[in-house]
């Protein structure tokens, strides 16, 4: 079982969270400007790395907020958790890789 550190509530059991998939995928500002292949890439294609993965988690049975997690997909070790840009707290490293403010959950 993963022990996940919610940026707001601290370390909690995996069963309190729900998984939101790869982080850093933004809905294109103008979908009509995209080719079918670009739209497919946005909708369906994922980087699926063997190694460090940036992903979204929601503290569904806690504060119900989304946040980012950097996790190794082979050892499952969590390297860090971080607030998303736009959410209170901002990105610890100031980088992109989260949801836009107010864009809500993806799945």
């Amino acid at each position: 079982m993963l022990l996940i550190e919610c940026p707001w509530c601290g370390p909690r059991a995996e069963t309190e969270f729900s998984y939101g998939g790869e982080a850093g995928i933004f809905r294109p500002a103008d979908p009509h400007a995209l080719s079918d292949a670009e739209w497919a890439d946005y909708l369906f294609y994922r980087s699926n790395p063997r190694g460090t993965h940036r992903e979204l988690w929601n503290h569904a049975q806690g504060c119900r907020r989304w946040f980012g997690v950097e996790r190794d997909t082979v050892s499952y070790r969590i390297k860090r958790t971080y607030c998303l840009s736009g959410a209170s707290g901002g990105q610890p490293d100031g980088s992109a890789g989260g949801l836009e403010a107010g864009s809500g959950k993806r799945r």
């Binding site: 079982m1 995996e14 369906f44 294609y45 699926n48 082979v74």
Partner: protein, 416 residues
């Protein structure tokens, strides 16, 4: 290849089993091949076998980083059926089921295919409507399927709990009598032995570490045992598909997840069929050794670790005990995980790629064991002819940009 027979078995037994010879050669890699298959699971081995048998391509190598059948082929719960909802999917799985029906004879290897029937349970009115719809769709496609009620289920499976007071009462089920289970290791070994006999090199301990692409064409692979050139490369590495795609500069609409299964201590014969339930998310059968074989659902997160989380095991156990209260005191002996390659529409990709000469067979996710012979058969055709067979044409990469997805998510009950 030494032909296996009852007489040979007897002769070897009398000779104290000292005269058995290896079932396939331990081949070393040559410098080049007409076709290279990456991944020595059931799918890769079946592909090589049908390439050699049906398409006359015998200068073929199967490259496996570990030992053959050590991936999902040796880790699954062995369920074989073809009762998928959509025509494209059901025809592909039905092709496979037909091949299963003659496979032991084709390969001269007992894959222990046992058509003991597969029940997919329904626990609500909506489940039952879905079951009726799927059974009708199957029958229109010439696939055997029937709807059975609780009384018939109870008669066939006395230890199942059909009482109306159950938390998830059993209201009915679909039954495919031609479905069942097969021995997974035997499938890998049987295909390996038969492919080897046709001249295919099966090269274990040989990990592919790079794919050479020049001007949009695949030219060969780099491996831990040296470079191998080939202008036809078929990739069948299940959960590692994304890793291989990256080597060729490609992305895939596939994500890798852990999927777990476990077996109990052996008990007396108690369950002579396969029971699956999408609603409580468990599936169970009994092996010939007497072990109860139980499969769980995937872990939600991406993972390459060949192990999953404990809560998923707990859920699967809850499901099984809900259906079979008598099993609550059976002890579980072993537990393991595999890495499954999940597509957004829960259907596979058996396809050409933007790189010429490079083909992918992946995305079978939680349900590709049943497809082993069929997937190998259509993938061999795709590699040999440089175009898909009509059975796998709908399962191309293009479907993700054309929008012609084949949504088997809820439709095929539990995804196995």
């Amino acid at each position: 290849m030494k032909h296996y027979s009852a007489l040979g078995l007897l002769r070897n037994a009398l000779g104290r089993n000292r005269r058995w010879t290896p079932a396939w050669r331990s081949a070393g890699p040559k410098k080049s091949y007409d076709a290279v298959i990456v991944g020595g699971g059931g799918h890769g081995l079946a592909t090589a076998y049908y390439l050699a048998r049906d398409h006359g391509l015998r200068n073929v190598a199967v490259l496996e980083k570990g030992w053959i059948g050590g991936g999902n082929t040796g880790r699954n719960t062995c369920i074989v059926r073809s009762n998928y909802l959509w025509t494209e999917a059901s025809l592909l799985y039905e092709k496979s089921l037909k091949l299963w029906e003659g496979l032991s004879r084709d390969l001269n290897f007992n894959v222990m295919f046992s058509q003991r029937g597969v029940y997919n349970l329904g626990h609500s009115l909506q489940d039952l409507r879905d079951i009726e719809r799927r059974v009708n769709a199957n029958r229109l496609n010439g696939i055997d399927a029937e709807v059975v009620g609780p009384a018939k289920i109870k008669k066939a499976i006395p230890c199942i709990n059909t009482s109306p007071g159950a938390r998830y009462p059993i209201l009915g089920a679909s039954l495919q009598r031609r479905g069942g289970v097969a021995r997974h290791d035997a499938v890998a070994w049987g295909f390996a032995r038969a492919a080897d006999a046709l001249g295919v090199d099966i090269i274990e301990q040989c990990e592919v570490t790079g794919i050479e692409v020049r001007a949009g064409r695949a030219l060969g692979v780099a491996t831990t045992r040296g470079a191998i050139s080939s202008e036809r490369i078929g990739v069948a590495v299940a959960g590692n598909a994304g890793v291989l795609a990256k080597m060729a500069g490609l992305r895939l609409p596939v994500e890798s997840h852990p999927l777990q299964a476990f077996v109990s201590e052996p008990v007396r014969p108690v369950l002579n069929t396969v029971v699956m339930s999408g609603a409580v998310h468990g599936y169970i059968s009994q092996s010939d050794k007497g072990e109860l074989v139980v499969g769980a659902g995937i872990d939600a997160y991406n993972g390459y670790g060949q192990r999953g989380s404990f809560p998923v095991i707990e859920q699967a156990m809850q499901a099984v005990i809900e259906l079979f209260p008598a099993f609550s005191r059976v002890r579980m002996l072993r537990l393991w995980g595999g890495i499954v390659d999940i597509c957004p529409d829960a259907c596979p990709i058996v396809s050409k790629t933007p790189v010429e000469g490079l083909y992918f067979n992946c995305g079978w996710g939680t349900g590709g064991f049943k497809a082993t012979p069929g997937a190998g058969w259509v993938f061999a055709h795709t590699l040999a002819c440089d175009r898909p067979h009509e059975l796998n044409a709908p399962f191309s990469l293009e479907r993700f940009s054309s929008g012609a997805l084949i949504d088997e998510h809820g439709a095929a009950a539990v995804a196995h």
